[in-house]
Amino acid sequence: MQDETLLDILKKRGVSRRAFLKFCAAATSLMALPPTMASAVAEALAKAKRPSVIWLSFQECTGCTESLTRSFSPTLESLIFDAISLDYHETLQAAAGTAAEAARETAMKENWGKYLLLVDGSVSTRGGGYYSTVAGKTNLETLKEAAAGAAAVVCIGTCSSFGGIPYAKPNPTGAVPVSDIVKDKPVIHVPGCPPIPAVITGVLVQYLTFGTIPDLDELGRPRSYYGDTIHDRCYRRPYYDQGKFAKSFDDEGARNGWCLFELGCKGPTTHNVCATTKWNQGTSFPIQSGHGCLGCSEPNFWDNGSFYQALSTPIDSVAAAAATAAVVGVAAGVGVGIANHHAKAKAKAEHETVTVNDLEK
């Protein structure tokens, strides 16, 4: 089973060569790679071995798993999910109790040093971590044990990436992000509350395809998905640049679909692909539904003041802020869509776009 390649598995599911090509085109798009990479992706995927994946859930709400499994089916996501060997996932596995724990231990032993460890939820550390235990073991112990044999750790969601809601003040359980515990393995952050399913699978596909860890930003997030802010790609951006803001959720501006900056939109400081990939099969995303971005893929989003407070308190400075962004928009915005995210993210590394500080200047 372990020797089967992804292509073998897909073939068994009746996927033809043309379908594989289509699969690769979609996977390339999912990974935010330039379309010309599709043949390289096809070649790599045809040879890719089925990796063992262990998914641990700690202090979390299962929203991240829901995000992934409720994504439309049959999909690219579900095909990829079939292509990995998900050896342990408390919510999804059939086994329970001792049998489940035994399955985890076997999978770990057999694939020691090679498996991918996925974690959702933060880790309780207070009093040794007894606030959250599974099968009599603290999450802290389980994480240390499982991380020791992992090739890499992927933090699914804001809780495992940055602490998230359990970490919010006053943090009664002494919750910490995974990266506070795991120091000697590559840790990839896929934040979001929950993350967009396509982003979760995109990161997995990248690992599956190239066996490598994607290019990460300073917060450990893959640049291909978190390289741009929501604001960079928001369709309401022209209103922002023109200084047209909704002042309340039911005023003329709101009805006209103007920018939600003054209603607390955190789009300018939030890195994610909601504005392009969107949610529910690409149907919409919060801003399109008339509500500002909460900033859920950023650290401490829960403690960053009111969701309805403008990033900079504008009054007179709105015009100035808009002007700053307009200039940035011209510099970084024209033809932005054309450049692939990857190349752009690289450029971004040197030229970070709008931040709260820029807006407040």
Partner: protein, 142 residues
């Protein structure tokens, strides 16, 4: 009139089709490369923040060409050549008819329409097997 229609949403054009113009320029560049060097190129539309107006502008400008094709494999893939020969619009749907990925391909023929090399070989084998079976049936009747 449904409840939703009762909500007074009024969308004012913010001149948000700028990205469509940028895509059109990119297509021009790719087409130049195809003409001059014979190299193919493509643009991933699913990664761009295109508004419905931007889509309309793209479609309008490119127009409809002579070829339309549908590939049924892992859901449907709809392919058509636009009014600009060499510029193809390729939309991959999944089995639920949701868009999985969408590309503008600048090429003589999108790869998804070509028969894969190995499929041709399999095809030859399959045909031979069928002919063989037919022969057997015939000889058993005789």
């Amino acid at each position: 009139m449904s409840g939703l229609d009762g909500i007074g949403v009024k969308v004012i054009d913010a001149g948000g089709d700028g990205s469509a113009r940028a895509v059109l320029r990119e297509i021009e560049t790719l087409l130049t490369v195809l003409v001059e060097k014979g190299e193919e190129g493509s643009i991933d539309l699913s990664s761009l923040p295109l508004t419905p107006e931007a889509y309309d502008l793209l479609e309008e400008t490119l127009g409809e060409g002579e070829v339309t094709a549908e590939v049924s494999s892992l859901g449907v893939t709809r392919v058509h050549e636009t009014g600009i020969p060499g510029v193809w619009w390729v939309t991959h749907y999944n089995e639920d008819d949701d868009v999985m990925a969408e590309f503008i391909e600048v090429t003589h023929c999108p790869e998804i329409l070509l028969t894969p090399e190995d499929d041709v070989k399999d095809g030859l084998e399959a045909l031979r097997a069928r002919l063989f079976e037919e022969n057997m049936n015939k000889s058993s009747v005789e």
